[in-house]
């Protein structure tokens, strides 16, 4: 079993490469194969450009990558990661995610805690949502999402007047939910592309300026908020803005 905590467990005053080599040697590999393993990990985690920098002087994301690489030296069957991408830059996050996926494919059992539901959605087969220390829901990502509704089409207007035009155009045919803060008009879309096409044709010729139009599934964030009984902030602050048009 191997554990990677939220804070990197590395020797600050050794370089990235020296740290990995030390771990591999302590794992029991002789020098030759330890070096080959370390080179492999350096490639895999894109550590090359800072391999000879002291760990204390690299960025948080780079540190994290070295830390994760070090935890793989152990060849764990079970890997526990505590918020592996907290505070990481997008590139480091991608590296960490792709590595985690490969490990899982290779048969490693992974326990991962995260604040980012997007991350849980991307990586996990089974998710347990915990709110204030209580388990509020458990299941696969799609099970959790289906608990709070189906997919929808979101139309974002460029300004308030555009939103009014969009609502006028759509409310005749669809059940519309408007979020004025985000200038978003949502309609349920059980029929995927057919609904998207119906929405676009209803809007054509209306003359409303549209920022974005998209078919969306509920995110895990939506599921979490719904399951913990919290209302998204934009609703909570201005309840008057919440409209359901028949």
């Amino acid at each position: 079993m191997s554990l990677t905590g939220q804070f990197a467990a590395l020797e600050d005053n050794l370089t990235a490469q020296e740290n990995l080599l030390l771990m591999a040697r302590l794992r029991g590999y002789p020098k030759g194969s330890a070096t080959r393993i370390v080179e492999g990990l350096i490639d895999r985690f894109d550590i090359g450009e800072f391999r000879d920098k002291l760990v204390k002087s690299v960025s948080g994301g780079q540190r994290r990558r070295v830390d994760l690489a070090a935890s793989l030296v152990v060849q764990p069957k079970v890997l526990m990661l505590d918020e592996p991408t907290t505070g990481l830059d997008p590139r480091s996050r991608q590296v960490v995610w792709s590595t985690i996926r490969e490990l899982v494919q290779a048969g490693v059992t992974l326990f991962l805690t995260t604040q980012y539901l997007e991350e849980a959605d991307a990586l996990a087969d089974h998710i347990v949502l915990i709110d204030h220390g209580r388990v509020v829901a458990a299941g696969t990502p799609s099970e959790l999402k289906s608990q709070i509704g189906d997919q929808r089409v979101d139309v974002v207007g460029v300004d308030a007047s555009a939103v009014v035009l969009i609502v006028d155009a759509l409310s005749a045919t669809f059940q519309v939910v408007v979020d004025h803060n985000r200038r978003t008009v949502s309609v349920p879309a059980p029929h995927d592309l057919a609904d998207l096409a119906a929405v676009t044709s209803a809007l054509s010729g209306v003359g409303a300026h549209i920022d974005e139009i998209a078919l969306r599934r509920p995110t895990l964030d939506d599921a979490f908020l719904a399951l913990t009984g919290q209302v998204p902030e934009s609703y909570e602050n201005e309840p008057a803005m919440k409209e359901v048009t028949p």
Binding site: L3, F7, E11, E18, A24, L26, I37, R44, Q105
Partner: protein, 280 residues
């Protein structure tokens, strides 16, 4: 990252040699961990200041500031002071080892070692040995400084060996004590504080700079039974052949020092090991 799993060198591709016997594993791991400690020294040379600059300053200060006012009957102040400073260096090893251990155990790297299949004893013994090596550097600096400034030890070859063995025993005992303290205190600042509140005054009362016999009642009584007094008196006895008068332990310094050291080791080693094995 465009690499695929198949194209990478995974740890699993390298044959892991059969695990050697436990003693060989212990020695190998201890060695690796000692090297790791030594590797970091050039990166933070200021950490060595307590065994390099500090002993230099102490030797110069005491020799030239107090040396001009203190007169010891029958010997030069150099010959009185240097054994004292050597004893004090051993005592200060407690602080050095404690601070280093507290710092080390706070970084999380120790947790990583624990998650590896590493003999736990090797983690802690590498810490002790690494610290002993550092303290030896300090002792060599003090001794070298002293010799350059007029310290003249009188030792037979047998006496020299006795001196080395005593120093090594003292180093082991005080370093284990320091490592245990560092593991308990867990903060290098607190460790510094404890060091300067306890070890520092005790080392001054130990006949290091002036004879205990001349002190007032309370400090004299403390000095009479301070383990550090036995340490200083025994170093003085071995290097200069002088005898210290006072309590029983001062009259029999070598035996007393050996007793103290074994006592410290017998108490600290099991406690330190237990603490390390059980803590999570």
């Amino acid at each position: 990252m465009t690499m695929t799993l198949a194209s990478m060198t995974r740890p699993g591709d390298e044959p892991l040699p059969r695990r050697p016997g436990s003693l060989r594993r212990f020695l190998r791991e201890t060695g690796l961990l000692i090297v790791r400690g030594l590797q970091t020294i050039p990166r933070v040379p200021q950490r060595l200041s307590d065994v390099t600059i500090q002993p230099l300053v102490f030797t110069l200060l005491f020799l030239y500031v107090f040396g001009s006012a203190i007169h010891i009957k029958g010997m030069s102040y150099q010959n009185y002071l240097l054994p004292g400073l050597l004893g004090q260096s051993l005592a200060f090893g407690v602080i050095g080892a404690g601070v280093a251990t507290a710092t080390d155990f706070n970084t999380g790297v120790i947790d990583r070692f624990r998650s590896l299949p590493v003999t736990r004893l090797s983690v802690i013994s590498s810490q002790v040995i690494g610290q002993i090596l550092e303290q030896i550097l300090g002792i060599v600096i003090v001794a070298g400084m002293g010799l350059a400034l007029g310290w003249r030890p009188h030792m037979s070859p047998f006496g020299f060996v006795e001196f080395l063995l005593l120093m090594l025993l003292g180093l082991s005992a005080f370093t284990w004590f320091g490592v245990l303290l560092g593991m308990i205190v867990k903060s290098s600042d607190a460790m510094q504080g404890i060091g300067f509140a306890i070890v520092f005054p005790l080392s001054f009362l130990a006949g290091t700079f002036v004879p205990i016999a001349g002190l007032k009642l309370i400090p004299r009584t403390i000095g009479d039974w301070d383990p550090l007094s036995a340490l200083v008196a025994s170093v003085r006895h071995v290097t200069q052949g002088t005898n210290t008068t006072g309590s029983w332990q001062l009259a029999h310094p070598v035996v007393s020092m050996i007793f103290w050291c074994f006592l410290i080791i017998a108490v600290c080693v099991p406690l330190a090991l237990r603490r390390f094995m059980n803590s999570n």
